[in-house]
Amino acid sequence: MSDALLKVEHLTRYFDVSKPWLNRVLEREEKQFLTAVADVSFEIKRGETFALVGESGSGKSTIAKMVVGLLGASEGVIDFDGHRMTGTAGAEMRALRRRFQMIFQDPFASLNPRWRVGDIIAEPIHTFGLMKGAEVSNRVGELLDTVGLSAKDAEKFPHEFSGGQRQRIAIARALSSKPEFIVCDEPTSALDVSVQAQILNLMKDLQDEMGLTYLFISHDLSVVRHMANRIGVLYLGRLVEVADGKRLFTEPQHPYTRMLLDAVPDLALSGRRRKPVEGEIPNPINPPSGCAFHPRCPLAMPRCKAEAPHRVDTATGYAACFALETQPA
């Protein structure tokens, strides 16, 4: 048995983005599909932070939603602690559901404005029937304390809090069912940097104390570097590279990872010479053939246009690129 808590294999999700039926008939158009996530496989070990990083539209949120069951997979499977989640329903699913939670980007939209903070935090406790009566309010008080708020805040409404405080409330709610695994989709992207630092520190502390496992999603490479043990890089719904955290930055393998690292401005004033970045992200409805990165890739060869590269092992993890196959391992 491996120590993988979450295992995702060949995960794929299409969206039907066709025009309404009548328009299609009149304009003689085919049905159109957008591949938001294509054949993505990765594992997350117990207690680690696995990050997914990618530009807008690369499929990060779609993967997050499939992992927590908010969205079905078109193909592929998701295993949580050895249990198959794709296709599971009923009591078995409920038992699994308690063990993972999700934190969203927007702390304004994710909290019901008409509920008191205490009821928001207690919701998972009630949903899974974990406690009753006074026990619940004690637990809510404890949770508020854990995330740096006060037990008295349970009586207030979300609008009485700042963005950072609301994200703390969202974290308290996520923790209330005592989950082992938390999917965090851009948990600090809506926050100012000084508040982001508070939340990232809190998330690390909670992980140390409770042994939590995180799937951490962000478009910000420096945030991901700070948080993750291992990192997966997405491009147009494809997982192009997975590598050990810090080594992704010192030894990037995939040409897209290298391009991304060259593109990101850094506060460290390292004075590195940046290579100009080529082109823009193509339309996901009609992605380029073969390797989706080939129109922008400085290493592209004829083969890249015709075939999609498969995963190969690298010094730091694995990647999907023909240029890496030809090198000695």
């Binding site: 000084s194 991304l260 506060l267 100009p276």
Partner: protein
């Protein structure tokens, strides 16, 4: 040292509301020299966009300039009538905003918009204006510019649109370009292209840039000097390297430490407690005092003015005031 291109002196911007007057920009002063890139940073609500809008005369009512002055090459521009201000906008000051669609009219082709702006501000024929526009689109990196110029804005991708906006901002050869979060809406890999373009092309034409952003990485790699705003006030201003690597204001120092980088390892990020106050709850004295670890008595009574620290640096913090000479050692951390 009076040859500043733009001089903002004691700027104050207010919003009258039913519950009283909100002061969104409070006594902010800085200069921009010809050809330099001044970064303006601060957290959301610090007053970055309002400062830019006040300079170009685009404050939305009821917002108004309630004090101070703004000078362009020594000439006051904060009290001009709307018509005179419109001439300065576009001709002498170009603008690039976060969302390219706010600067482009969806109903006109790119050619129509560029040639009209060129002809409004320059004495050239229609054909010459079109030639200029094509050359400019080519310069900002629009492939097949001569053909694409007759397309409408929605025919371009987000990054390409922002290139068109940059062409539009530069077409009358302004002396200053104000760019408010010009890349925030774009993909990371396109951001760097746009930032490089703004920097290069302004340098080539000798235009100064006021670059407003919340992204310190962009500032670090682009600006010559940086102004840090906090709660509508100037906390610190100085050469970019000094401010980033050796910030003097406790807020700037905390801010820099709170941002993870691509090369340095810290197990924990520096944490500033709390959040920036709302405009109706700015504390007496130094606006940063509730969050400042080093606050002392005076910080709760009097507001610190920016103090000259030499080398083009100014810091608004009592720790650096000579009156506190007795506690001076605490300042030299």
């Amino acid at each position: 040292m009076t040859d500043a291109l733009l001089s903002v002196r004691n700027l104050r911007v207010e919003f009258p509301t039913r519950r009283g007057i909100l002061t969104a920009i409070d006594d902010v002063s800085f200069d921009i020299m010809p050809g330099e890139v001044l970064g303006v940073v601060g957290e959301s609500g610090a007053g970055k966009s309002l400062t830019g809008a006040a300079i170009i005369g685009l404050l939305e009512p009821p917002g108004r300039i309630a004090g101070g002055e703004i000078l362009l090459k020594g000439q006051r521009i904060d009290n001009l009538d709307p018509e005179a201000m419109r001439k300065i906008r576009g001709k002498r000051i170009g603008m690039v905003f976060q969302d390219p669609l706010t600067s482009l009219n969806p109903l006109y082709t790119v050619a129509q918009q560029l040639t009209e702006t060129i002809r409004t501000h320059m004495d050239v024929t229609e054909a010459e204006a079109r030639q200029r526009a094509i050359a400019l689109l080519d310069r900002v990196g629009i492939p097949a510019a001569a053909r694409r110029i007759d397309d409408y804005p929605h025919h371009f991708s987000g990054g390409m649109r922002q290139r068109v906006v940059i062409a539009l901002a530069l077409c009358a050869e302004p002396e200053l370009v104000i760019a408010d979060e010009p890349t925030t809406a774009l993909d990371v890999s396109v951001q760097s292209q746009i930032i490089d373009l703004i920097k290069e092309i302004c340098a080539e034409r000798g235009a100064a840039v006021m670059l407003i952003t919340h992204d310190m990485g962009v500032i670090a790699e682009t600006a010559d000097r940086v102004a840090v705003l906090y709660a509508g006030r100037l906390a610190e201003i100085g050469p970019v390297r000094e401010v980033i690597t050796a910030a003097e204001h406790p807020y700037t120092a905390g801010l820099m430490g709170s941002i993870p980088t691509l090369t340095q390892d810290n197990a924990r990020l520096v944490q500033i407690p709390g959040a920036m106050p709302r405009l109706n709850a700015i504390p007496q004295g130094c606006a940063f005092n509730p969050r400042c670890e080093r606050a002392f008595e005076r910080c709760f009574k009097d507001r610190p003015d920016p103090l000259d620290r030499g080398g083009g640096r100014k810091v608004a913090c009592w720790l650096y005031d000579a009156v506190n000479a007795g506690t001076k050692e605490t300042a030299d951390v």
